[in-house]
C-alpha cells in the first residue's frame, strides 16, 4: 500500500490502474490469460474485444467482484479490495436497479455503499439529478421510468461518489443522441479532473472519439495494445474512402486490377485497403471514368472497426489453423 492522500471531492487524487499478468480460470475455460495493461489518470482506456474474449472477467477482477488466480491488480499502488472499491465506480453492461425502489432512495443507497454519509449522498444525488434534468424523478419508482431514463439514473449511481477510477461498459446503450452527448460531456469532465477511466464498448466510432489508449483482448489474451494514435499508425495510412454518386462499376475494376481490396461498399460509398505499392491516383482515375459525380476521395488511417476485425480474425484464424492441424494429426 502506498501512502495515498485523503480523498478530496473537488480535486480527486490521480492514480494509475495496473493490471499485471492476471489469469482467471473458470471450470475448463481460461477466461483471462496473462493479461497486463495500465490505465492512467486523466485518460480513457478502451478495453475492446469480441464477445466472450475475457473483458467482463477482467472488469470483474478490477472491481474486486472476483479475484485473479494469478497476477495482481493495483490501483494507485494499492492491491484492489474493499478499500479501492469505494473509490471506483462501475457501470456494468447488464444494467441493474431495484425496480420498486424510488430513484432518490436508490441513489442514496448506492452512495452510502461507496462510503458517503447519508447527507452527502442526498446532496450529490440532487446535484446530479439536476445536471441530468431529472430532479422530478426523485420519488418515482425505477420501473416507472423509460429505459433511457433508467440508464441515466444508473450512470448517476456510478459517479455519485466522484470515483477516482471509472469503469464503463457500453455506457451509451439505449440513449438518444442528445442524452448520449450529455453523458459524453460528463465523462470528459471526469477525465479532465484526473479520473482514470476504463471504457468497454463494441461501438468503434465511440472508441475512436473517446479513447486515448487501446487494449484489445481476444480469447483471453491481449492482441493489440498502445495509445490510439500509435495503434492506428501501426496499421498504416492504407485505407482509401470514396463517396460518389451514380456508377459503381469501378469498384470491381479496382479489385480486378489487384491494387486494392474492397473492405466496405454500398451504393454511394466504397472503402479500399491498398495493396503494397499501389498508387491512389490509379484508383482515382478508374473511379473518375465511371462515377457520375465524385463527392469525397480520402486516403486515411485504418478505422478502429477495421483494426478490430483484422486483429481479431488474425488471432482466431491462427487458432483455427492450429485446431485443424491438431485434428489432422
Amino acid at each position: 500500500m502506498s501512502g495515498s492522500t485523503v480523498p478530496n471531492l473537488n480535486n480527486p487524487p490521480m492514480h494509475t490502474l495496473n493490471v499485471e499478468e492476471v489469469r482467471k480460470q473458470y471450470e475448463d475455460t481460461l477466461a483471462v490469460d496473462n493479461v497486463s495493461f495500465e490505465a492512467r489518470p486523466g485518460r480513457i482506456l478502451g478495453l475492446l474485444g469480441p464477445n466472450g474474449a475475457g473483458k467482463s472477467s477482467t472488469i470483474r477482477m478490477i472491481t474486486y467482484i472476483t479475484t485473479p488466480d494469478a497476477g495482481r491488480i493495483r490501483f494507485g499502488g494499492e492491491e484492489v479490495g474493499p478499500g479501492t472499491q469505494s473509490r471506483m465506480g462501475y457501470l456494468p453492461e447488464e444494467r441493474g436497479l431495484y425496480p420498486k425502489m424510488k430513484v432518490g432512495e436508490q441513489l442514496v443507497l448506492f452512495g452510502e455503499l461507496k462510503g458517503l454519509t447519508r447527507q452527502q449522498a442526498k446532496d450529490q444525488a440532487a446535484a446530479w439529478l439536476d445536471r441530468f434534468d431529472a430532479r422530478s424523478w426523485v420519488d418515482k419508482a425505477t420501473n416507472e421510468l423509460s429505459k433511457g431514463m433508467q440508464q441515466k439514473i444508473q450512470f448517476i449511481a456510478t459517479i455519485l461518489h466522484r470515483p477516482e477510477l471509472l469503469i464503463l461498459d457500453e455506457p451509451f446503450g439505449g440513449l438518444d443522441p442528445i442524452n448520449a452527448d450529455l453523458l459524453q460531456s460528463v465523462i470528459m469532465e471526469l477525465k479532465d479532473s484526473g479520473c482514470t477511466i476504463v471504457f468497454a464498448s463494441h461501438r468503434m466510432e465511440q472508441v475512436e472519439q473517446l479513447c486515448d489508449d487501446i487494449c484489445l483482448v481476444s480469447k483471453g489474451q491481449i492482441v493489440l495494445q498502445g495509445t490510439l494514435n500509435e495503434v492506428k499508425k501501426r496499421f498504416g495510412r492504407n485505407t482509401l474512402e470514396i463517396d460518389f454518386e451514380d456508377g459503381d462499376a469501378f469498384i470491381d475494376k479496382v479489385e480486378a486490377s489487384g491494387s486494392a481490396r474492397v473492405s466496405a461498399r454500398s451504393r454511394r460509398h466504397a472503402q479500399f485497403q491498398l495493396a503494397e505499392g499501389a498508387r491512389p491516383r490509379d484508383i482515382l482515375n478508374l473511379a473518375l471514368s465511371d462515377v457520375g459525380e465524385l463527392i469525397r476521395f480520402e486516403l486515411m488511417e485504418l478505422p478502429m472497426r477495421e483494426i478490430f476485425v483484422q486483429a481479431v480474425t488474425r488471432t482466431q484464424g491462427a487458432d483455427a489453423v492450429a485446431e485443424n492441424a491438431g485434428g489432422a494429426a
Binding site: 467482484i65 471506483m88 431495484y98 455503499l113
Partner: protein, 426 residues
C-alpha cells in the same frame, strides 16, 4: 456506517413500508381470529342441529321413559323396523334404537343410523343410554339412590407439575397449548421470513443489481445485511402480533374451550365454554418471562440458520421453480420438527424431545415447546444454544461461499453437487 448495516437498514425500511408487510401484519391476526370464528361457528352449529329425532323400539318396555336429553327427542316406534329403515334413509328421523328385553343384564342395544357410529353415537346418545341403563339397574337392585349418587359423584383430578425452583404449577394443558402455539409461530416465521430472504436474493440476481452491489461491498456483507434487515422486519411483525396476543389473551380461554371435547372432562357435550374451562381448572397461565426471552432467542437463531441457507439457494438459481429440488434438504428438518411437535407436547422430557431440541436444525420448535411446558435442564439449553451458534457460523460460512459464486452464475440450473463444488472452490 458499516456497509452491512447500510444494506440491513435499506432492506428493513423498504420492506416495512411495503404493501406486503402492512397487509400481512394487519391481516395476519384478523385471518387467525377469522379462522377461530369459523371453527367456533361450525361447532356451535353442530351443537344446535342437535335437535335429533330418534325412534325407539323398546322391547324391554322400561327404558324409553328413562331416556332424557334436552336436544334429542325419543319417540316410541310405531312401525316395523323395515319402514323405520326407510324413514332413516329418507332423513325423516335421525335413526332408531332397538332395545333388547333384558337390557339391564348386559344385552346389547343396537343403534341404526345412516352415519353408523358417528358423532351422535359417540357423544350424547351413548351417555344418555348409559345413564338410563344404570338408573334402571339401580332401581332393579334396589340400591338407595343416595348411595348411588355418593358412589358416582365426580372424582376431581388435577395435575401439578413439580419444578426445580419449587414453584409448583398446575394446568399443564394450558402450557401445552401455549407451547404448541409458540412452536407453530416459529415454524411459520422460519419458513416465511426464510423464503422472503430467498425471494429477495433471487430478484437481485434477476435484476442484475447484484453485480453493482458486489462492486461496492463484499458478498458476505450483502448477504448478512439482507438477512439482518429482513430479520428485523420479522421481529417487528412478531412483536406487533405478540402485543395483540397479549392483549387478547382472554381469547385463549375460548380457544381451549373449543378445542377440548367436553365429554373428556365428564361434562355433557352441550356444556358451555365456561363450564369446560372450570372443569379443566383452566386459567390463563402465568409464563416465566424467560420463556419469552428464549422464544425470541430461538426465533433469531432458527431464522439466522435457515435464512442464510435460503439465501444461498436463492443466489444459485434464476427462477423459483429451479429452487424446489435444492430446497428439500433444507426444508426437511423444519417439517420434521413440526411433525414431531405433537409427540414433544405429549412427552416433553422424552429422549426424542431432548435430541430434537439439541440438533440446531430442529431445535427451535421442540425447545420452545418444552421450555413453555417444563423446566428444561440448564445444560440442555446451554448445549442447544451453543450448537446453534456453531451451526449458524457454519451456515454463514457455507452460504457466503455459495452466494459468492451463485450470484454471478447464470444459464444453468444448479444441482446440490454444484453447490458443494462452489463451497469447495470459492
Amino acid at each position: 456506517m458499516n456497509k452491512m448495516m447500510v444494506i440491513a437498514r435499506s432492506e428493513f425500511m423498504t420492506r416495512v413500508r411495503s404493501r406486503w408487510f402492512i397487509l400481512t401484519t394487519l391481516l395476519g391476526p384478523i385471518a387467525l381470529i377469522g379462522f377461530f370464528v369459523v371453527v367456533a361457528l361450525v361447532s356451535i352449529n353442530s351443537l344446535e342441529t342437535g335437535e335429533q329425532e330418534i325412534a325407539v323400539v323398546d322391547n324391554s318396555g322400561v327404558l324409553l321413559s328413562r331416556l332424557e336429553h334436552d336436544q334429542i327427542t325419543f319417540t316410541r316406534a310405531t312401525e316395523p323396523p323395515d319402514s323405520l329403515r326407510q324413514h332413516v334413509l329418507r332423513g325423516d328421523i335421525d335413526g332408531f334404537l332397538v332395545i333388547p328385553d333384558d337390557v339391564s343384564n348386559g344385552e346389547e342395544i343396537v343403534w341404526y343410523s345412516d352415519s353408523g357410529g358417528g358423532s351422535l353415537m359417540n357423544g350424547d346418545l351413548r351417555g344418555t343410554l348409559r345413564s338410563a341403563v344404570r338408573a334402571l339397574r339401580v332401581d332393579e337392585q334396589e340400591v338407595d339412590p343416595v348411595v348411588y349418587d355418593a358412589i358416582t359423584a365426580d372424582v376431581p383430578i388435577s395435575s401439578v407439575q413439580l419444578t426445580q425452583d419449587g414453584d409448583e404449577r398446575g394446568n399443564v394443558g394450558a402450557y401445552a397449548v401455549i407451547g404448541g402455539i409458540m412452536g407453530f409461530l416459529l415454524y411459520m416465521a422460519m419458513l416465511i421470513y426464510g423464503s422472503v430472504v430467498m425471494q429477495g436474493v433471487m430478484q437481485e440476481k434477476q435484476n442484475r443489481v447484484v453485480e453493482i452491489m458486489v462492486s461496492s461491498l463484499r458478498p458476505s456483507e450483502l448477504l448478512m445485511g439482507k438477512v439482518l434487515g429482513i430479520g428485523a422486519m420479522g421481529l417487528v411483525q412478531m412483536t406487533f402480533w405478540a402485543i395483540l396476543i397479549a392483549g387478547g389473551t382472554l381469547l385463549s380461554g375460548v380457544i381451549v374451550g373449543l378445542v377440548v371435547d367436553p365429554v373428556s372432562v365428564q361434562l355433557p357435550a352441550s356444556a358451555s365454554n365456561q363450564e369446560v374451562l372450570a372443569a379443566m381448572d383452566f386459567q390463563i397461565p402465568a409464563l416465566d418471562p424467560i420463556v419469552f426471552v428464549l422464544f425470541v432467542v430461538y426465533f433469531l437463531g432458527g431464522y439466522l440458520l435457515y435464512a442464510t441457507l435460503f439465501a444461498a439457494i436463492g443466489s444459485s438459481v434464476e427462477q423459483q421453480q429451479d429452487a424446489q429440488g435444492i430446497m428439500l434438504p433444507v426444508m426437511l428438518p423444519i417439517i420434521l420438527s413440526i411433525m414431531f411437535m405433537q409427540t414433544v407436547i405429549e412427552k416433553p422430557d422424552s429422549t426424542l424431545a431432548v435430541v430434537l431440541s439439541l440438533i440446531p436444525f430442529t431445535s427451535p420448535i421442540p425447545m420452545v415447546v418444552r421450555v413453555a411446558m417444563i423446566d428444561v435442564p440448564v445444560w440442555e439449553l446451554t448445549a442447544s444454544l451453543a450448537l446453534m451458534v456453531l451451526f449458524i457460523y457454519g451456515a454463514i460460512w457455507m452460504a457466503g461461499r455459495i452466494y459468492r459464486v451463485g450470484i454471478l452464475s447464470y444459464g444453468k440450473k444448479p444441482t446440490l453437487r454444484d453447490l458443494a463444488r462452489w463451497v469447495r472452490q470459492a
